[in-house]
Symmetry: C2
Subunit: 202 residues, 2 copies
DNA sequence: TTCTTATGTTAACTTTGTTAACATTAAAGC
DNA sequence: GCTTTAATGTTAACAAAGTTAACATAAGAA
């Protein structure tokens, strides 16, 4: 009665891998342990994934897809270019705070190399395309000079950087969002913060 | 002819560890390989460090110290509060770009836990104190209200976030600094970028 | 039915982190 | 000087992990 595992082991493994990742990070994800927890032999995962990187790639792909979805939702929430960038920034940080391990996985060096996993590259490209589109699709009704377009691009790049930095610093515990305020408000405030020298400087 | 006591093995190990870290990252740093490369027995490192985390902690401490030095230098380069923040941001990013592996080590989850390595905690605190001081030591000659001080703090936090984000995105290859411009100019431009809605928006 | 492929299993091999048990050197006390 | 002791090295072992090979079984195509 060697009732082999019939069901879709692949999906069970993936789900379990995600659970482990969430509360232990990629380092704690051991293929053998994963197999044991799933109730399958220790070599079974190799039938469904290209080793450890293969599993991480699969998890990362799913993460990128979810990330892209949430960014799209935010981007669609308004027609105004600046507002859209703000909304994107808030959604960006929110995803990181709610899914710190996924965020680190898709940005950190534990992410499998993109050139070895075409689907991973596609997922990544797609997510960043959402940002890219929001950045470049400035209000077309306002005719812009090339310089103005470049400036808009730089502003968006700056916004992205700040959002990314906030996300990283918050999930690293370097920045502690005030408990009395909602996260989104705090993030929006930071995003909109202007660094140019104020009038009262002198 | 057991050639015991070759000199200060500890420093040689540290230097070698740093070399490995630089071109392979913390994942590629294997204690046994490190020992072999250093020409010492595979268990020798344990006489000088508290295991792998111990070595990483030692490397991270050195990295924090170098980081703090460069930040201090930048902070001392001007008396103007806003200019100082800009200089700090540029130095911050420059350190990350010149020492990506160190930067990832001191900020990533491969960094040994601070509460297990008091010296590491001190090194980290010291580095962030440099930032903190630059943030809070606003021009005292201009009397500020509490609200103004809070606003200054938020601006500094925003600047830090953006610098951190730029650093991360650049060393991840997500942002590619223009080849024709020097890095510092590019970073300063991004740091100063204002996100408030421009006058020609309507 | 038979052949082939996908999926599982067990057993090995290699590397790594870590510790224990033992060896040698340098330095401190006498 | 001689002895004792702490620091520093060494070898040998262990468990855990990634990976692959060799073999087993299920399910579907021929």
């Amino acid at each position: 009665m060697g009732k082999y595992h019939h069901g879709d082991v692949r999906n069970v493994l993936l789900q379990q891998a995600e659970n482990i990742l969430i509360d232990e990070g990629p380092a704690g994800l051991s293929l053998r342990r994963l197999a044991r927890l799933t109730g399958v032999s220790e070599a079974a995962p190799y039938r469904h994934f290209d080793g450890k990187d293969g599993i991480l790639a699969a998890v990362a792909i799913a993460a990128f897809e979810r990330f892209a979805e949430q960014l799209e939702t935010a981007a669609a929430s308004t027609e105004n270019h600046e507002e859209r960038i703000m909304a994107l920034g808030a959604a960006y940080v929110q995803f990181a705070v709610e899914n710190p391990q996924h965020f680190r996985l898709i940005f950190g060096r534990e992410r499998p190399p993109l050139d070895q996993y075409p689907e991973l590259r596609d997922a990544a490209d797609n997510a960043f395309d959402v940002l890219q589109r929001a950045v470049t699709s400035v209000d077309r009704k306002a005719e812009m000079t090339l310089a103005e377009a470049a400036s808009a691009y730089n502003r968006a790049l700056a916004a992205w950087s700040r959002a990314h930095g906030i996300a990283m610093l918050v999930i690293d515990g370097m920045i502690v969002p005030p408990a009395d305020q909602d996260l989104s408000g705090f993030v929006l405030g930071l995003l909109a913060e202007d660094l140019t020298i104020p009038a009262n400087a002198e």
